[in-house]
Amino acid sequence: MADVLRAVGIRKLFAGVPALDGVDLTVTAGKVVGLVGHNGAGKSTLLKVLSGAYQPDGGELFLGEERVSFHSPATAIQAGVSTVYQELSLLPNLTVAENTFLGRELRRGGRLDKVAMREAAQALIDRFQIPVDAARRVGDYPVATRQLLEIAIATSRNARFLLLDEPTTSLEGEQVEPLLRLVRGLATDEGLGIMFINHKLDELFAISDEVVALVNGRVQIEGPTDRVNRSEVITAIAGSELPERRVPAATGLATGAGAGEHAVALSVRGLRNDQLKGVDLEAREGRILGIYGLVGSGRTEFLRTLVGLLPTSGGSVSLFDRDYRPGGPADAQRHGVVYLTEERKIDGIVPGLTSITNVVLPVVRQYTRGGLLDHRRLRSVATDLLTQLGIRGDIHAPVVTLSGGNQQKVLLARALAQKPRVLLLDEPTKGVDIGVKAEIHQLLRSLAHDEGLAVVMVSSEEEEILEVADEVVTFVLGSCDGREVAASDLTVQGLRQSAWEAA
């Protein structure tokens, strides 16, 4: 029986860009390998190659001494490699037993043997000491318990190797412990080989036997956990080999004035809800506040809370020194707070409407005469904004016919049409080409520094944060201490370090 799952020289390219550039990794039976890396370092890609979801462009996989190739997740599972993804995959409307035997139901005389399935499922979950009744629906249990069930059921398919993709992301403090115990037990007692991806270094160091740090698609550090230095790992993922250069703050003269001289537009104190664990920060007029953090650290949720899309359960927000509790985007808009979504296609554009209509959608009520639309003024308002943003394409055609970058300009024009005083931007240059990106950066600077808007920008790209923002705050696991650092004092490495050290 194979006791190692080995990846040798794995390469994987996306559009010619290597995501994995010759990765060697060994998962040994009875051991936990902790895999860390920055956003985009290739962790998920590696996991998908090992689980059969992606085919590698180079390199080989071995189970024991035997060379294998997983054409699909199903082949991997048959070979004994099971994967638990971040998103819950159990069906909430089926029972625990039904989920356990989904697709391989036990039968007796042509009929489902429900009793046998329930007993087997109950035996499985009892063995892992998960407090669950196999006859009840999965949806009856909280997320933390379901996460344990996901792992237990994944192992039930004769798994010898288990790949876990950030299983603790959605869990609260005290819910993490049982999961870590389960993972540890699976390795030590059941002899499974486990690969565990996690952003939280404390958890990772607590349960893994070996640590592997992935940087830009290569293994940068690997070794037994007790021999690996935690701060070395942080330095590695933060990119120690990056030149110690500061990204020039292109903010020019405007940054000369210290942040303190600008009036506070938005002040957030201890903001909490399901995703936010206490956020403190201040955004000032005439300044661009950059929000940095790892994926899933609550940045998007924070911005969405500020326009009333998510409820708050604690803390306070004040806008120009007045209490601010937005009832929804329309209400936020009345207060001068406008949000630009990260997901252009999901809640950004209305695809079938023209670019012009997309721009004026939030403000059509303001351009009427006797209750009827003043088409001429609406068109000129939209056209002016779109021209100012340098749109390319037919603005009278449905907005989906434009390229991604031009669609983004349409959304920016929509935000500006609302005459915001506070502009909340979520990944404002996601999926746009370099030329448009530079134009958007220039626009944001001018909005803040020339027109005095308070701009809050979330970005996953360190270079973008350093280039565009005046001050930077960091989100870690749903909270933000409000400690601002001038972008000009930061380096890419320092920024990454700040996001990891607290993790």
């Binding site: 996306f14 559009a15 010619g16 860009v17 995501a19 956003n39 985009g40 370092a41 290739g42 998920s44 890609t45 971040q86 950030e166 994926v295 899933g296 326009v307 899309l309 929804g328 985007p329 329309a330 949000y339 979504t341 999901i346 809640d347 554009i349 209305v350 695809p351 079938g352 209509t357 959608l361 939030p362 059509v364 009520r365 009427t368 209750g371 009827l372 639309l373 088409h375 390319r392 394409g393 037919d394 603005i395 009278h396 055609a397 449905p398 989906v400 016919t401 434009l402 390229s403 991604g404 031009n406 929509r414 609302q418 990944e427 240059t429 999926g431 746009v432 080409d433 370099i434 996953s460």
Partner: protein, 355 residues
Amino acid sequence: MAKRRRLPEEMGIFGVLVLVALVMSMLSPEFMTLGNIQVLMLNGTVVAFLALGQTFVLLTGGIDLSVGSNIALTGMLAAISMQLGAPWWLAGIVAVVVGLLVGLFNGAIIHFVKLPPFIVTFSTYGISAAIPQILTGARSVTVADPMFAVFGRGSLYGIPIPVIMLAIAAAVFIVILRQTPSGVHIYAVGGNADASRLAGVNIGRKILMVYAISGICAGIGGVITTSRLMVGYPTAGSGNEQFYSIASAVVGGVSLFGGIGTIVGALLGAILIATVSNGMNVVGVDSFWQPLVIGVIILLGVSLDAMRRRITLAEGLRRLFAPAAAPPPLAPEGAAGPSPSLDSPGVTRGEQHNR
């Protein structure tokens, strides 16, 4: 950048209508007579009214299955209120107000209880079908006031009053959809509800509005139906009207998935359906065939709708909106070299989506 004039989308359905009319008039000399055209229009008005209301609902991505029995409910209540002594005009108002209330009820449940429109309006279909039967013991109620006949039988300069009412309603609806903020919002809600909410559109108000309009149209349909027969039938409208109203809108290019369609299209669709069923009568096709033929027409219309949605959006919209001869109105750099790999390697994208 000059505004590009595009062929109206309704040209297709208009062409089909002309073709059907030509075939029918070749098959039967009676078809193109003034008398028959009048009958055709008159028979089509109730379905057309329902189709106009249905268009508003479909544009938001909903569906109103209650309009058919709403006709029976409102038409009966008009007859009953006259039986109780109300003047003819008040009876008309009663019917329209009841229709409006049914629509508001639909909209309120759909929006506030967050139930699928299909379920909600299917339930109100049952409820409003039962009420008139309960009230009258399933007996019909004769209308005594001859003035009430004006809604269904009257005419002005030879044009039937119902057709005039339909024309007025269509004009008002076109203005609402094209010239008011609410119109823009209705298209936006159907095109992308999440984006509309983020843009500050009050979605609840729009949902209430479209079902209310559909209810009003059903109320007018009830008035016309009762007025033409001068009898309130508790089972009126429970047959083909419901089915045909959705068919008209969809055949006329109103998308079942929301966000696409026009009043003119729905109106042409209703005329097409009326022409097909009238033509089959005139030509002498057994009436059992009618639902079959109309069913096939609906399937074709819906399949076309589904297909145009399934083609990649940019490509599909280009095909849909651009005149065949003109070059595609595309952003030049959108079609130019694919450069996204430079700033967004696949991995980064993948991980960012994980949130």
